[in-house]
Symmetry: C2
Amino acid sequence: MRMTKGVEWALHTLLNLDMIGGGPVSGGQLAEAHGLPGPYLVKQLQQLTKAGLLTSVPGPRGGFRLARSLSEITLLDVVEAIEGDARLFHCAEIRCCGRIGELSPPPEEPCPVKSAMRRAEEALRQALAAQSLMDIRAEIDRNPTIGQVVRAAFG
Amino acid sequence: MRMTKGVEWALHTLLNLDMIGGGPVSGGQLAEAHGLPGPYLVKQLQQLTKAGLLTSVPGPRGGFRLARSLSEITLLDVVEAIEGDARLFHCAEIRCCGRIGELSPPPEEPCPVKSAMRRAEEALRQALAAQSLMDIRAEIDRNPTIGQVVRAAFG
DNA sequence: GGCTTACTACTCGGATACTGCTTGTCCGAGTTCAGGGGG
DNA sequence: CCCCCTGAACTCGGACAAGCAGTATCCGAGTAGTAAGCC
């Protein structure tokens, strides 16, 4: 039940891209900004591109660029793009296996355990979807120094 | 971001223990009820014992028994007992690494990305803590057949 | 001098090794029960 | 007939391997920019 490092990397990178603004930025530069392994970060950014959060520009002076505004990107978008899906409980229907499974008639109602976990999952998804990256950006901008540092790092 | 199978196994096993009632039940019987690998299930039940959800009785006619009522056991208790903790986002503080980290002064405020994810996590924890195993038991009891089957399987 | 063309360098993209955790299994310590012997 | 003792079988508990997803890396396909050559 541990989230991938890629989620943290992707969030910070998306925020950096917005602070810099302007043209595309290469994966190498984005990686050096936080001391991350370059090719692996690019792998994650490719996931974001597939999900439509980024657009990639090939060739020299190419790189990645935001596909839409931060206010239109939620935490859920990023998590689902990196993790594949935000499901954390996978029901194996063990109620239909073993001795109990043999004695039970084929069940019609969904597994109550699964339903309960699904409700908790839904609360997580809603909490993720309720927060946009613009909200985080606003929190960062309380300290103007950070924006200056980021722009200087990519100067 | 996948939850361990042990969580599903533990939930079903706890519910079974409550439906059977009475004396302790061995790990082997509990495993056969759902066709699970016996020794590995016992490993999970030991975690539940450490967490105070079960009590273990050694020796012949021994086994596991509920330590308290289902209404006093929440989904969060089970998840934390099996998974260790319910944290799914581990902030590596990458904002302090790389070029940006070198240019930035030591930050005083907590990482905004971390805070946002922590809020979502808290929503998950609350949703897990809001549901007790007794709620699931009540849903199961809508179909009285299941209780009879479970008791027959352990007959 | 301007245009075309070939080259180079840099980018993303996917295929390929390595590590840590989940999953699964095994053997040993401890305890209860049963049976036999003695009082 | 009752009590004690010894043995055995069954339980939990922790230590030991195997499989898989996350982590990290490398090389190839494609493109833009540049420089040289030609008109």
